[in-house]
């Protein structure tokens, strides 16, 4: 089976739901309005059946059979649709390559904090919404492990149809798959503000966004290696500094590590 991205899965299901939903909606609403119009009060004689009277003990009207036929039909549509999506749910839950991240998958730890995102890669490289944001390779399954350091956020990339709640103390694991870059895209595509927060998290919620960049495979590897080298360089500098300053300045060390 070719790798289906989350976006493809979503589009398929959404289109079917939208089509059927619109159809059912039009039929039911038209039928409702048709009945309302057809049986409008025409001032005619009212001798056809017993009409409700003031003060009667309530009883039901006639027409129960029709009721159950319509009810049964609608139940079948709803149950059928949802059961059909269940197979897709299993696919989404287990991942594109069977169980859990495959050999070629990229794993990224995502951390939400008021009001920014941090992305940690397997080799220890960290980026954040304050700099270039999330960087991922093309045509790859990317597994994200999402959490939060302060309040409840929700990590979402609408373009990729992926979302995960970022809850303090929990790690929410999910995945998405990038498409191959197209001709003319160059070696990377940047989606500005492609990552958004979907849970109200405080005054800065509205602006808690991050860019996401999809790179060519090789460009990505290169980028990751460069970042790693830069990181190591910084660490060495810090160590050198530490050696010079002695152990006293812990705070400065922490700041250095984050920069």
């Amino acid at each position: 089976m070719p790798l289906q991205t989350r976006a493809e899965v979503f589009e398929q299901i959404f289109i079917i739901f939208l089509g059927l939903g619109t159809l059912v909606g039009i039929i039911v609403v038209s039928y409702t309005l048709y009945n309302a119009y057809k049986y409008r009060d025409s001032e005619g004689p009212t001798d056809d059946e017993d009409v409700p009277t003031l003060g009667e003990l309530p009883t039901g009207g006639k027409g129960g059979k029709k009721l159950f036929v319509s009810f049964g039909l609608s139940a079948i549509i709803v149950l059928g649709l949802v059961l059909w999506t269940y197979t897709w749910l299993i696919y989404v839950e287990t991942g594109p390559e069977g169980d859990n991240p495959g050999e070629d998958a990229l794993e990224v730890d995502v951390e939400g904090q008021a009001f920014s995102w941090t992305f940690a890669y397997e080799n220890g490289v960290e980026t954040s919404s304050a700099d270039q944001g999330m960087v991922v390779p093309e045509d790859t399954a990317i597994w994200v492990n999402v959490t939060s350091t302060d309040v409840w956020h929700a990590f979402g990339i609408p373009e990729q149809r992926v979302k995960a709640d970022a809850i303090p103390g929990e790690s929410d694991v999910t995945w998405f798959a990038t498409d191959p870059l197209e001709e003319g895209d160059g070696d990377q595509v940047v989606y500005e503000d492609g990552i958004e927060c979907f849970e109200l998290c405080g005054a800065g919620h509205s602006n808690m966004k991050s860019d996401i960049t999809v790179m060519e495979e090789e460009a990505f590897e290169e980028w990751l290696a460069e970042e790693e080298a830069a990181m190591e360089e910084e660490e060495e500098e810090d160590e050198a500094e530490d050696d010079a300053n002695g152990d006293e300045d812990d705070d400065a060390n922490d700041e250095g590590g984050d920069a």
Binding site: V9, F10, F14, F17, G21, G25, V29, T32, N35, A36, Y37, Y39, R40, D41, D48, E49, V51, P52, T53, L54, E56, L57, P58, T59, G60, G61, K62, G63, G64, K66, L67, S74, V78, T85, Y86, W88, L89, D150, V151, W152, A154, G156, P158, V162, D165, I167, P168, G169, E170, D172, C197, F198, E199, L200, C201, A203, G204, H205, S206, N207
Partner: protein, 838 residues
């Protein structure tokens, strides 16, 4: 005193009234005010959404607006307006003279009004609550508020909501007792009109759902004021809140929608001139929904790391709960078939509500498919969907306003104006909410959105103003009707069936010209005195048949009956209690800073680590004390007041034939209290399992102290039983001795508790020291508060026995007190092993 009961034109009448129709009007008017309040907030943020990043509100101001819009509409508008209809109409529909506990009903109203005033004040206390109407943890606790001083407004919001929930709980006890015990002769449960049915199920759901919310709010309030840690940790706090909140939150959806559904059933039957198709199945469907509503809450949490099995289970229950609604929708549609549909304003609104509900329902099926839900979570799809559902409910409630307006006001409104209102309303509604489906990728509660969405958001903003304007037309229509509308006949609607249309518009104070009865299968007003006389004469019973009913004559009957059993309609003390709670809560809301100061002195190291920096507030401490003083005084007066609310002599009472009204009320109240404690204990179990059960041992050091307290409480249960025996025998000394013994035992319990706590404090284990300590102090503290309340009741009862020899002729209050006391003891029997042994 009914005789000097002030007329409706007097302001005093509205302050003291306990009559269900008056209270209903108060609810309706107040709810309309909060509709405007919530609506104006919505207009504010719709203006901000005109273009991405456009700003007329501060960031926090925007969050406050969306949060309070949600809270006000869901709590202070939707349920109260339904409550207003129910207050006015349920007693009329079932043939009762009033609710079972009229004073309690007035108290519900005043707590509601004052809670709303408290919300209003919160805006001026450094900003109101800004964490969304769902109040997710841990954003809802003070550590994420910029400064301790700025927590006051948020505290006021949480306390106002707590007060509102108390009001709801009292209301549910009242309505459940009324509907189950005050139905007219011949009206079985199955025979109740559908509005009453929908309200009965609403209050049953409210009883349990709001109790869970009450527990959540109490815990949240202790977090915010006493700085405990329930929702502040990263060890399960967020999920704890989500579980309790949605356990309440999903039934709440049906709680706000059911009354609207009931109105649709009533108006459809009246204006189609047909009885509801499949009535029995509709009722069964509603009962199913009411039960199942407590089993779907996790579908709000599909993305919160719950496992696939549970997701599947909740997907199934969610789909399951949508099916009964299909049935109800088709029942409404088929009721029109072969009918005589008259497009009056109330019918147009009901039909509109049905159409909107169908669209809301279809878009809801999308959310039931978990894969789609993943992507819709937190977006405008959800916003659009639930507005289509809930505001379709509002549409039906507006239908109810027009339908019952002639009955309540005694005036007819102008149909043309009503129809214009409907046209503007319907266009505005769809212009407002439909574009939200098209802009669905926008995250909720943001004002920076993607380019390309702008056109939809602008349409929605225009729609919001059109929709808002339509309500001005409504107010004008009703205002004009009041000033110059023609008088309404008893029944302006052909084919109306329910009893409220068989009496004058507006109905007289005591509602009925004689005793309503359905024993012949049809409403008639029975003159019991005449019937008794006729029976002794050997004649046949005489009933005043509706067709022959003469209302002038009816009035005489009314006053005649009045001499037999006098019913009170006025009490000022419900208003007083509302005021007392209000002042107390205003004070408590400002106490965070003082508690922070206290913590600084108790445990400076902790305070520094947590960044606590507060000053003792003389102002708020003073207000708190003042509130306590007022409350003590008014509760005492409330207890002393003689208030006669006669039970109906002849009534349908299935399934509670053999329980008195008050006893049933106490049972129902205790049922809700079970859920409050259940949620608090559930929180303890949840947090402890989350941490790993054996991560903590028992917090209290002395198991024997807990055991001793268990024995003390069990003994006190025994003395309460003896007290009842003494009261039944009319033995004053024995009653005093046994109640006195109960009091002493209760005080001993509290004494042991105090010693235990001070011993823990001496070891520097405080309520804020860690989650395990918060759980221990708050859960046992909640129980302690119940004991304390019981002790106040016992003291009051002793006072009454000494002063007026109370309970010797009627021992029932001792029994009711006993029920409460046993319940408190049972809770302790559960708490003891959980906190001392495990």
């Amino acid at each position: 005193m009914a005789d000097d009961f002030p007329p409706m034109t007097s302001i005093k009448r509205w302050l003291v009234t306990t009559n269900h129709k008056d209270v209903g009007i108060l609810y309706l008017v107040t709810a309309m005010f909060f509709l405007l309040f919530g609506g104006i907030l919505a207009l504010l943020f719709r203006v901000q959404l005109w273009s991405s990043g456009y700003s007329i509100l501060s960031d926090s101001g925007f969050n406050q607006s969306v949060s309070m819009h949600g809270l006000l509409m869901v709590f202070w508008f939707l349920s109260p307006i339904a409550s207003g209809f129910a207050n006015y109409l349920v007693p009329l529909q079932i043939g009762a003279k009033d609710l079972a506990f009229p004073r309690l009903n007035a108290l519900s109203y005043w707590l509601y009004l004052f809670s709303g005033i408290l919300i209003g004040i919160s805006f001026f206390q450094g900003g109101t609550f800004a964490g969304g109407w769902t109040m997710y943890a841990p954003l809802n606790v003070p550590m994420y508020t910029p400064a301790i001083e700025a927590t006051t407004g948020g505290n006021a919001t949480i306390l106002a909501l707590t007060m509102f929930v108390v009001s709801i709980t009292l209301g549910t006890v009242n309505f459940l007792t009324t509907i189950h015990r005050s139905r007219a002769e011949g009206m079985g449960l199955w025979n109740m009109p559908l509005f009453t049915w929908s309200w009965l199920l609403t209050v049953w759901m409210m009883l349990f759902a709001f109790a869970a919310l009450l527990a959540a709010l109490l815990l949240l309030a202790t977090d915010r004021i006493l700085l405990t840690q329930y929702f502040a940790t990263d060890q399960g706090s967020s999920l704890l809140w989500a579980h309790i909140f949605w356990f309440f939150g999903h039934p709440e959806v049906y709680i706000v929608f059911f009354p609207a559904l009931g109105i649709m059933f009533e108006t459809f039957q009246t204006f189609t001139g047909r009885r509801l198709v499949g009535r029995k199945w509709v009722i069964i469907a509603m009962v199913l929904v009411a039960v199942q509503s407590f089993l779907v809450w996790m579908h709000h949490m599909f993305l919160t790391t719950i496992n696939l099995e549970i997701k599947t289970l909740f997907m199934a229950t969610t789909i399951g709960i949508s099916l009964p609604f299909d049935l109800m929708v088709f029942a409404l549609i088929y009721t029109m078939v072969k009918g005589r549909v008259r497009f009056t304003t109330p019918f147009l609104f009901s039909l509109g509500a049905l159409v909107l509900f169908i669209l809301g329902g279809i878009t809801g099926v999308f959310l039931g498919a978990v894969v789609l839900d993943y992507e819709f979570r937190g977006t405008y799809w959800v916003v659009a969907h639930f507005h289509y559902v809930m505001v379709s409910g509002v549409t039906a409630l507006v239908a109810g306003l027009y339908y019952w307006w002639p009955k309540i006001s005694g005036k007819m409104y102008n149909e043309t104006l009503g129809k214009i209102h409907f046209a503007v309303y319907f266009v505005g509604f769809n212009l407002l909410y439909f574009p939200m489906f098209l802009a669905w990728d926008t995250p909720r509660r943001v004002f920076h959105y993607q380019e390309g969405m702008e056109i939809w958001h602008q349409m929605a903003t225009v729609g919001a103003f059109v929709f808002g304007f339509s309500f001005l037309i409504m107010f004008y229509t009703f205002g004009k009707s009041l000033v110059s509308g023609p008088d309404a006949p008893d029944n302006p609607w052909e084919f109306a069936r329910t009893a409220e249309w068989a009496i004058p518009s507006p109905p007289p104070l005591e509602n009925w010209p004689g005793r309503p009865s359905y024993r012949s299968g049809h409403l008639e007003f029975v003159d019991d005195a005449a019937e008794a006389a006729a029976a002794t004469d050997g004649g046949t019973a005489t009933g005043t048949d509706l067709a022959r009913a003469d209302h002038g004559h009816g009035h005489e009957l009314d006053t005649h009956e009045h001499e037999e059993e006098h019913a009170d309609h006025a009490s000022i003390w419900p208003l007083g209690i509302g005021l007392g709670v209000f002042v107390l809560f205003v004070g408590l809301g400002g106490m965070t800073s003082s508690v922070a100061a206290l913590i600084e002195s108790l445990d400076p190291a902790y305070a520094e680590a947590a960044g606590l920096d507060g000053e003792f507030s003389y102002l708020y401490s003073g207000i708190t004390l003042l509130g306590l003083a007022i409350l003590t005084y008014v509760l005492f007066q409330f207890g002393l007041e003689e208030f006669n609310a006669p039970e109906m002599a002849i009534a349908e009472r299935w399934p509670f034939e053999n329980v008195g009204n008050t006893k049933l009320g106490v049972w129902i109240f205790l049922a809700s209290d079970v859920v409050v404690f259940g949620a608090a204990i559930g929180a303890y179990v949840f947090m402890r399992i989350y941490a790993g059960w054996h991560t903590w041992g028992p917090v209290p050091d002395h198991t024997w102290a807990g055991l001793l307290n268990t024995y003390i409480l069990l003994t006190s249960s025994f003395t309460v039983i003896l007290a009842l025996v003494m009261a039944e025998r009319g033995n004053k000394k024995g009653l005093l001795a046994t109640l006195g013994a109960t009091l002493v035992l209760g005080l001993t319990f509290m004494g042991v508790k105090t010693w235990e706590w001070s011993d823990k404090f001496a070891q520097e284990d405080f309520w804020f020291s860690g989650i395990e300590y918060s759980l221990y102090y708050v859960t046992t503290g909640l129980h302690g508060l119940h004991v304390l309340l019981g002790l106040f009741l016992a003291s009051f009862m002793i006072f009454r026995i000494v002063t007026i020899d109370a309970y010797l002729e009627d021992s029932r209050p001792v029994e009711f007190f006993g029920l409460y006391w046993h319940f408190v003891d049972i809770v302790w029997v559960i708490l003891f092993p959980l906190f001392y042994l495990m």
